[in-house]
Symmetry: C2
Subunit: 195 residues, 2 copies
């Protein structure tokens, strides 16, 4: 998606360790019009899939997820991050390891909000090692929900997350796919503008 | 706002200790069309105010805030909750006590995203004791930003938050104002449907 690639080129900041900072428009300050455009694109890509629910994880997945839900006319559920893995009644939980923060979190969804009648579109802002999305897939499995696919704003294609998802037989659509960083430059998969 | 009051009557669950659970449509599962309607209302109420930025706090403030930002054509900034109050360079921070969870959090906003040229509309899902909004007001003060006002989805008018905000001379607009609970019934300020 050219709009998103252009915005990453313009406002993204590449830090040491292949970290891309996009807090200018995606995960601290948010550009609502851009989120709406992402929602339009996810909605277009998955329009044949009879999606019943959007699933994401707090906090930065919420903005693109809510726009997708608005445009697909379905509810959005966000998994909550919990410190402990204490089992609570009435929750589907999954463990998610954060490579960035080097901590393991438990994410949880109330069993009321996901069930076997659901066909879920998972939406998130970032895909790197795929831990968050894998946790969301685990939660869908616990709920016996179908998964229509995964929609990601920014994928770091050189990390293992994309393969992890495809290995599970799940459709993945990422709107900007980063192949590599070079200094402060971002190269995208299949882009001709890798100057 | 009748639409929101009706939804609270229909799907809200009153728990012990005057806790209203609205995780069916606001803070776990989210109804995007309702969030859009809240955004329309905040946008209408503050349309004369030359708002430059929406400020909220993760996570459940993000959905109504992003719709308000979309409709007012301004960026949204969400304050991040941090465990420690360790001073980090480049952040405006405020302490926020959560009565529900009985913990003190620090909320933080990158100094890049708020400054003296801003006229801020603070948006949040809930107003009870006013700790989160007070923290956001403190952050605006640190940034020397103007505050156009505060927009709240659900206000518990019998708790102290609303007064705390008005005592600071800040305009407050709450779309559903709860005067009391009676068993599982919710009474609203000024509503004629308190049956």
């Amino acid at each position: 998606m050219k709009l998103l690639e252009d915005r990453i080129r313009e406002d993204g900041v590449v830090l040491a360790g292949d970290v891309l900072k996009v807090n200018q428009f995606l995960n601290h300050q948010i550009d609502p019009a851009l989120m709406y455009a992402l929602g339009q694109e996810f909605s277009r890509l998955y329009k044949e899939e009879k999606v019943t629910k959007i699933l994401t994880v707090e906090s930065s997945g919420i903005a693109p997820a809510i726009m997708t839900g608005l445009l697909m006319h379905v509810p959005v559920v966000f998994a909550k991050k919990q410190k402990s893995s204490t089992l609570n009644g009435g929750l589907y939980t999954a463990k998610v390891y954060s490579y960035t923060k080097q901590v393991e979190n438990t994410i949880a969804v109330d069993t009321k909000f996901l069930n076997a009648a659901d066909n879920v579109l998972i939406v998130d802002d970032f895909l790197a090692n795929g831990q968050a999305v894998t946790g969301l897939l685990d939660i869908c499995k616990l709920a016996h929900a179908q998964v229509a696919g995964v929609g990601i704003a920014i994928e770091k294609s050189f990390q293992k997350g994309a393969d992890l998802i495809r290995d599970r037989g799940v459709r993945l659509e990422s709107l900007a796919r980063i192949s590599s960083f070079e200094g402060n430059k971002v190269h995208f998969v299949g882009s001709t503008e890798n100057d």
